[in-house]
Symmetry: C2
Subunit: 262 residues, 2 copies
C-alpha cells in the first residue's frame, strides 16, 4: 500500500507566522501522499472579541452558539484555510481547502444535549465518510487541507475538534493506505519527565504504555492523546506520531523524532 | 457535448435568506452539469464595519487593502461559501466550495498599478486555468461553488470580480461542454424600457444589438454586461442569459425567461 501522512497542526503553529511558514515549507516538500488538518488558533477568539461575540464556557468547554458558528466558519473555513492553501500553492504544493461539508466528506451530527447543550458542535459519523472523494484528490496529486468543521446534512456547519477530524480521516483511509497519523503539539513528544524536553520516550506500544501508567510517570494531559492514538491504531492506522512540528521532515522518513505509538 | 450551466448570483440573492434558499432549491434541482459563482453581498461591508475596517474607494472603486483582503477571504471564502455548500448538501446536491486558489484552478495576478493601486485585486490569467480539476469534480458528480477570490501564486489571495470568474470558467470549459452562462441580476432581463419590467427583450444577437445601440434604447448600465456576454460568446461560450434568479428553473430548459444573448 502507498504511504499517507495525515498531519494535524494546532495553535502553536498557526498563531505564529514564522512557525507556520517554516512548517508549510517542510509539509510541501513531503513527497508521499499527505493531508493537512488544522485547528483554529487564537485568531477566532481575537476576531470574535472585535465583533462583540462572547466566548461562553460551561465546565471549561466552549459553547458554539449561532454567532460563534458563523465566526469559526469565517475564520477557520475562510481566513486560516485559504491562507494555508495560497501559501502551499506558492511552495508548489497543489492543495485544496476543505471543510467536512465539501464533497460531503465528513458527515456529522450535532452533539446530543445531555447535561450541557454545546451548541453547533459536531460528532463525526465515522462510518459515513465519503472517503472516495478524498482519494480522488490524492490520486490527482491534490493535497487536501481540512478546517475543523463538519456538517449535519440539514444545512448547518458544525464546529468539530481537529484531532477528531484527523483521526477519522486517518482511520477511514487506512483501508487503502499505510497511514502515519502525526499530531503536532507544543512538546517534542511524550516526555518521561514533563519538565525535561530531552526525556522524550521514542516508542510506546501497549505493553510499554501499561508499564508507564503503573509507574504514574506520565503527565496527565498526555493520557487522552495516547488513548486516542491507540484507538486509531486499533481501527487500522499503522502508526501515530506525537511531536513538534519543527521536526516534521524527520518525521516523514523512517528515522523519527517525537514519540512513535504503534 | 454535454450541457453545462455556469450561474452567477450577486447580492440581491445572497443578502436575502429567503431568496437564497429558494434559489438554491432551484439550482439543486438542475439535472445537468452546473457550477455556481457567488459574489460577496453586503455582509462583508457589515462585518468590516464591526471590525473597524474602513471601505476605501478611489473613483468609485473599492480598494482592497491588507485588512480588506482578510475580511473578504473570511466572509466570501468562509461564511458565504460554506453556508451555500451546507445548504446544497441538505438539498442532496453534492457540492464543493472553492476559491481560485484551491486546486490552483484560477491563477491570477495583482492588478498592475497605473494611476490607482487597487490593492489585492486579481486579474485572471485566462489561459492558465486548471480546468481539468473542475472537470474532475463535474465527472465525479460534485458541483463546484466558487467564491470571488483567486490567488497570485506567491501566497496571496486576490479579490476578484464574480462576473469575471464566471465568464473565465465558462470560456475555459466551452472546449468540452455546451456552456450556458447565466448572470442573475435584479431585473428580469435586458429591458427595452428600463421602467417597464415587462419589456424584456427575449433575444439579442449582434445585429439586434447594433440596432438597439443605434436607437439608444438601452439603459447605460446594461451595456458593459452585454459587451461581456458577446466577449464570452466570441471566446466559445454557446449562449449567455441575463435575468432574474427567480426564473432560474425555466432558464435551464429550452424555454427561457430573461434575455438570451447568442
Amino acid at each position: 500500500m502507498d504511504k499517507l501522512f495525515v498531519i494535524k497542526i494546532g495553535g502553536n503553529v498557526i498563531d505564529n507566522e514564522e512557525n507556520l511558514s517554516s512548517f508549510l515549507q517542510s509539509f510541501a516538500s513531503i513527497q508521499s501522499n499527505k493531508i493537512l488538518v488544522h485547528g483554529g488558533g487564537k485568531i477566532a477568539t481575537k476576531i470574535g472579541e472585535q465583533l462583540g461575540i462572547k466566548s461562553n464556557y460551561i465546565n471549561g468547554r466552549r459553547i458554539t452558539d449561532d454567532d460563534t458558528i458563523d465566526l469559526v466558519t469565517m475564520v477557520y473555513g475562510g481566513l486560516v484555510n485559504k491562507k494555508i492553501v495560497a501559501h502551499l500553492q506558492a511552495k508548489s504544493c497543489n492543495s485544496i481547502g476543505l471543510t467536512g461539508a465539501d464533497a460531503n466528506i465528513i458527515p456529522a451530527t450535532k452533539r446530543p444535549v445531555k447535561e450541557v447543550d454545546f451548541g453547533w458542535v459536531g460528532d463525526v459519523y465515522n462510518d459515513q465518510l465519503k472517503i472516495d472523494n478524498v482519494q480522488l484528490f490524492l490520486e490527482s496529486g491534490i493535497t487536501p487541507v481540512f478546517a475543523p468543521l463538519t456538517h449535519d446534512g440539514n444545512g448547518h456547519i458544525l464546529n468539530t475538534n481537529a484531532d477528531t477530524i484527523a483521526s477519522s480521516l486517518a482511520i477511514a483511509l487506512s483501508k487503502d493506505y499505510d497511514v502515519r497519523l502525526i499530531y503536532c503539539f507544543e512538546k517534542k513528544g511524550v516526555l518521561e519527565n514533563v519538565n525535561d524536553e530531552n526525556s522524550v520516550i521514542r516508542n510506546i506500544n501497549k505493553e510499554k504504555y501499561r508499564q508507564l501508567l503503573q509507574e504514574q510517570k506520565l503527565f496527565e494531559g498526555i493520557i487522552p492523546k495516547i488513548d486516542n492514538a491507540f484507538a486509531a491504531i486499533d481501527a487500522g492506522v499503522k502508526e501515530v506520531l506525537i511531536g513538534d512540528a519543527k521536526d516534521l521532515l524527520k518525521n516523514t522518513t523512517d528515522e523519527t523524532e517525537g514519540t512513535l505509538i504503534n
